[in-house]
Symmetry: C2
């Protein structure tokens, strides 16, 4: 099939998170979906944040941030955190905020799963900074665990797609990873 | 609700991609889900790849790579590309490989959407390298476009979750982004 050339496109399914940090001594949260794990051990994760963002100021000031995963019930509050700046509005007032081991990583009790992160490196890019940090601990509701591990069918993470700008929940489980591909190993010497 | 402390966890919904690069003059592909956009303009994207990966060798050698998004039909081939090394197996033989503007970014015709990327920066981390590059062009099947833009309901990207290690398709559209949160703006001075 012939391919059609497109300008650079944003078409990736992306994890919806709320990034938390203390800014000028107060908790603040922003919505972010440019998030990925970047290293296995230590467990490093990165998030891209526009230079102007108030939350980014807090990450740089304190060297500490959080990543919380909202479920479908929190989609409107999450979206709101991407619409307004903490310079103008106290977004933390929307949530029941709690703290964990790092003491200054504000997290959201309504989110079924939160991560505390210690900044290890900032990659400066033209418009965004990519903040890389080590995940120090996770905090989860008992209700989302199966055998002690977060169960995706219970915590129901949201996914963002652009440029259509929609939040999605996960649908069907298509296949098992590191497994379904074994069918192509037939006939190979292992 | 009380939170339960977990060890650092991988629980994020992640985009499933195939990363392509020329290695020792031949096209090679690996499965990767530690991928995110990191800068708006220029359009930068990053992918974390273990130091040992053969594809990473090609990215460093050529400064060019691709990211292709497989649909559900290609899930087994995609998974296979995460199970075996290009040092031992010619994974490109599984696919109809094509090239675009950069000439040396191998892409997969069976994938409805592919991106060509020029490496701009390598962030060296303990186990992985995080390769950041500029998206130069996208290549899409006509069948996945609506009004000229990739339509997520047509190209049907896959999402990986860990540690349960499952591939998912997207389910219901939960809400519109940069929109549903406006409900909380009531009463604010704008």
């Amino acid at each position: 099939m012939e391919k059609i050339r497109l300008e650079p496109t944003l078409a990736l399914p992306m994890p919806v998170t709320l990034v938390g940090a203390m800014v000028e001594g107060k908790p603040n949260f922003m919505a972010a979906a440019w998030v990925t794990r970047v290293n296995v051990k230590p467990p490093l994760i990165g998030v891209a944040v526009n230079h102007r963002q108030y939350t980014g100021q807090g990450i740089r000031e304190t060297g500490i941030f959080s990543l919380c995963l909202p479920g479908p019930d929190a989609v409107a509050k999450t979206d709101y955190c991407g619409l307004v700046s903490g310079r103008k509005v106290d977004k933390a007032a929307l949530f029941d905020v709690f703290y964990g081991e790092l003491k200054t990583a504000p997290m959201i009790r309504e989110c079924p799963l939160c991560l505390e992160v210690r900044l290890t490196q900032t990659v400066e890019l033209p418009v965004d900074n990519f903040y890389i940090g080590e995940i120090v601990a996770g905090w989860a509701d008992a209700a989302i665990l199966t055998d002690g591990a977060p169960d995706v069918t219970k915590y129901r993470p949201l996914v963002l797609t652009m440029p259509d700008n929609r939040y999605w929940s996960l649908g069907e489980s298509v296949a098992d990873a590191w497994s379904v591909g074994k069918v192509f190993k037939k006939g190979e010497s292992e």
